[in-house]
């Protein structure tokens, strides 16, 4: 088999494929399979001026905001659902005017990411019409000139050429520089397999110029190629494979572990003020992923391993 070895450390992958000023998209959904391990490395490397695309963001994006990595953001939702209903560093940044955001709806972002993965310049939708998502732009056309990674307009409303009188919203598809996605299995040539709900992850990985994958399990190319039907992405769409067991912690990972309520609750507290966040980050970021896992501790992690029959940890204390 003609393989190309894309295996590298998180430090190397983020160093090579995420640059200051990039448009970066993140996989997962709220508290499920967020690429926390890679996000922590982005923070360690103090990347800045990022334009963030994230369909249904969680605490990982909130950490990036708190750490000062984000310049501007396209958003439809950001919460550690069930633990923090509106992520707090995000909230303060928007309320103080420090972070410009553009609001879309999750359906529009999903369709736009799919359009980007199809190579389309824009997608025509009816969504957003009639609401303030149509009439109020978080970032005006004039302001957009300051953000080269954003499209020049939020969208254009036009008449459907095939149905005169019918209005459509033409939404530009994002130009993603890098996608960071955590998966269950990957092999050195970049082939990867997402198990459970896949959210928008295939689309952002295909659309992005560069895709960095972190994986729970590293398996051989032969093993992955023996069952292509089960695979999600070919190595052709992947630039780096980083082996990060528990790389989605404290979020969930289908087939492996549940969310970590203690960590979610601790973050809810720590993110209430910038000072508390800074102190928490200094303590919990650690020098690398191995040190991070050591700090969490084996005992706590083993309590999060799913019951294979249930698919989660039955009776997990969540409050």
């Amino acid at each position: 088999m003609n393989t190309q070895n894309k295996l590298m450390t998180a430090a190397e992958a983020i160093g090579r494929f995420v640059h200051d000023g990039d448009c970066v998209a993140f996989g997962g959904f709220s508290t499920n399979r967020r690429a926390y391990g890679l996000v922590r490395e982005v923070i360690r490397q103090k990347k800045k001026d990022l334009t963030v695309e994230s369909g249904s963001a969680g605490g990982d994006i909130d950490m990036l905001i708190g750490a000062g990595c984000v310049k501007v953001m396209n958003i439809s939702y950001i919460a550690n659902s069930g633990f923090t209903m509106v992520c707090r560093r995000f909230r303060e940044a928007v309320e103080t005017g420090a972070l410009p955001v553009e609001d879309y709806s999750l359906d529009v972002q999903t369709i736009a990411y799919h359009g980007a993965a199809l190579g389309l310049p824009y997608v025509p939708v009816k969504n957003m019409l009639g609401s303030d998502l149509e009439t109020l732009w978080g970032i005006s056309e004039e302001e957009r000139k300051k953000y080269p990674k954003l499209p020049a307009k939020k969208f254009v409303v036009a008449e459907d050429p095939f149905e005169p009188g019918s209005r459509l919203c033409l939404v530009p598809t994002p130009k993603i520089d890098a996608a960071l996605v955590h998966v269950q299995k990957a092999s050195p040539d970049g082939t990867c397999r997402i198990e459970g709900a896949r959210f928008q992850d295939e689309d952002i990985a295909i659309a992005a110029k560069h895709t960095v994958i972190s994986c729970e399990e590293l398996v051989s190319d032969e093993e992955m190629h023996a069952d292509p039907n089960a695979n999600t992405l070919p190595g052709l769409c992947v630039d780096a494979v980083v082996h990060l067991p528990w790389g989605a912690h404290p979020s969930q990972c289908f087939g492996y572990y549940d969310y970590d309520p203690a960590a979610m609750i601790a973050y809810d507290k720590a993110s209430r003020t910038q000072d508390a966040f800074d102190a928490w980050l200094a303590e919990s970021l650690c020098q690398d992923h191995a040190a991070y896992l050591k700090q969490i501790g084996e005992e706590r992690l083993s309590g999060l391993k799913i019951d294979p029959a249930a698919g989660y940890v039955p009776g997990l204390k969540r409050k």
């Binding site: 997962g28 959904f29 709220s30 508290t31 499920n32 958003i75 439809s76 939702y77 950001i78 919460a79 659902s81 069930g82 633990f83 209903m85 509106v86 992520c87 995000f90 909230r91 928007v94 309320e95 005017g97 609001d103 879309y104 709806s105 999750l106 359906d107 529009v108 999903t110 369709i111 990411y113 799919h114 009816k126 969504n127 957003m128 019409l129 009639g130 609401s131 303030d132 998502l133 149509e134 109020l136 978080g138 209005r167 459970g196 709900a197 896949r198 959210f199 928008q200 295939e202 689309d203 969930q252 289908f254 549940d258 969310y259 249930a310 698919g311 989660y312 039955p314 009776g315 969540r318």
Partner: protein
């Protein structure tokens, strides 16, 4: 045992679910209401979720529509673009009966705000945003769950995240939306509100122990209460299923 307001809300939500029909459900009380319906009068109701998890049957209450708990006995775990394509098509064909939504502010025409309090550009309080609710409100009938407070039931929402009936009859068509779809009911801890021919909210039911005046005191706009009746108490078996089968850990009710 006394029936709590949240239990009454869950029962009212369940009543909005008809057997054999399909509903878009979010987490929280809507999921409890949907599960209660499936465990009582509507075993063949189909519950679908914006994460692409279709027809999941959770045993433990999920904290999010992405929660692994929701996967149990699901029919498919679709990539999200498939889900939204299906949602758009099925809604237009009339195959989705309603979507269940929540919000921070609502106006008399059922326009909902889940984006911010105050000026959008300098918000006093910023919320998480639309999530998938804008698309649901674009294409589907909706059932809305709200806390009943004066500052939430307002003449005009600070930001319209999800369009309701806009400004009355013809309002949706004017903005490019399907005029035949829109908000159907608003369920609060005080009772159930519905929409009349004029597309304005009116009080349909108050829960036992709640007066019409309580509702008026907590509503920030003119509300027609002439059709209000007191809701019947749910039967004990329904409450037993709610508290012992649907939410035995009392996460939500």
């Amino acid at each position: 045992m006394e029936i709590t307001r949240r239990q009454r809300m869950a029962v009212a939500l369940a009543k909005e679910v008809e057997d054999g029909k399909t509903y878009i459900i979010g987490t929280g009380l809507p999921l409890i209401g949907g599960s209660l319906a499936k465990n009582t009068h509507a075993p063949d109701a189909r519950l679908i979720f914006e994460t692409g998890i279709l027809e999941g049957n959770p045993l433990e209450v999920p904290t999010s529509v992405s929660d692994l708990r929701l996967n149990r006995q699901a029919s498919v775990l679709w990539p999200q673009f498939r889900y939204f394509g299906y949602q758009t098509l099925a809604a237009q064909r009339g195959e989705i009966e309603a979507g269940f939504l929540g919000g921070a502010q609502i106006d008399p025409y059922g326009n909902l705000n889940s984006t911010c309090i105050g000026d959008y550009f300098h918000p006093q309080t910023r919320f998480s945003g639309s999530g998938g609710a804008n698309g649901i409100a674009t294409y589907c009938d909706t059932v809305i769950v709200m806390k009943h407070e004066k500052r939430r039931f307002v003449e005009k929402v600070d930001y319209c995240t999800r369009p309701g009936w806009i400004d009355g009859p013809g309002g949706r068509a004017k903005r490019g939306l399907d005029e035949s779809k829109g908000p159907r009911a608003v369920i609060t801890e005080l009772g159930v509100l519905r929409f009349g021919e004029d597309k304005r909210m009116y009080l349909a039911e108050v829960f036992p122990g709640v007066s019409v005046q309580d509702v008026l005191d907590n509503t920030g706009f003119d509300l027609d209460v002439s059709r209000a009746v007191t809701a019947a108490d749910p039967d004990p078996e329904t409450i037993r299923i709610l508290t012992e089968v649907v939410d035995p850990l009392h996460v939500m009710v």
